[in-house]
């Protein structure tokens, strides 16, 4: 099961990070966004090509008021 921002998804192994972005309403042009897969940063340049494992934990993060 691929988990995106803490929620189970019906994504399949091999789908790119960009597909996870789409699940939270973003595309690869989104500004101020960063993605981690299993605790490792996936650089923006790799969002379309980085293929997710079947049990990947994806975190899609953006700026929030704080500090």
């Amino acid at each position: 099961m691929i988990v995106v921002n803490g929620e189970d998804s019906d994504m399949r192994a091999g789908e790119p990070v960009a597909a996870a972005l789409a699940r939270v309403g973003l595309d690869v042009r989104a500004r101020g966004v960063a993605v981690a897969v299993d605790g490792e940063v996936v650089p923006r340049a790799a969002w379309e090509t980085f293929a997710l494992d079947g049990d990947a934990r994806v975190e899609v993060l953006s700026a929030m008021q704080g500090g």
Partner: protein
Amino acid sequence: MADTLIPPLTIAGRQMHSRLLLGTGGFPSLELLAEAIAASGCELVTVALRRVDPTARGSLMDVVAEAGVELLPNTAGCMTARDAVITARLAREAFATDWIKLEVIGDEDTLLPDAPELLRAAEELVDEGFVVLPYTTDDPVLARRLADIGCAAVMPLGSPIGSGMGIRNPYNIALIREAVDVPVVLDAGIGTASDAALAMELGCDAVMAASAIARAQDPVAMARAMRAAVEAGLLARCAGRIPRRTYATPSTPELGLPDFGGSPARVS
């Protein structure tokens, strides 16, 4: 904007004319945040990284861009060095900045820093080329350790985050100023303008305020007050205060004092 009596502050080669850093957390609306940024005159604002909220209205990034201020991402909420390091790397990716306000919290009730984890994270991030500004306790020894490993500034707390308790140990803040060569930014605990002025009088190079402004009844007026306070405190420190004395020292000369007769004997 530049005031010749208020020298610019340089952190890691970046020059700033404002001595106030603003946290963006806690503002009731993005409109109020924008107004407060303008009123504060700040040039650097902190933001946090959180999971994307597809329902969020308005864009914090747009507000910051329109205000013309720089972002200082933080690692708020991290309780381990590992989480803080990952968050810093993500912030670098998201905001294209090497600057990170490093927070590693050790206790959920007090939100006090976890010193060993903080040092570990700071060391790793400095090695990775980050400009690290650690939120730290008011411990001069820890502050020196953080500066020694290459942090660009130290950000000691006055009192716990959001407590509004001011500077509980002013002697330690003054000792930290003596202990390190990097800028000292008083972070956390500021409740009102006099706290910010005191921080500057104690030798701090800047003050970071978040809740004190965002949760004030009138955040925009408080932003203006904080700006005035940090400038007043810095000017007063540069000006050199008079020593404290137990007894009065007349400010008017006694020479030439007339004698009208019949007045009570003067106590000499």
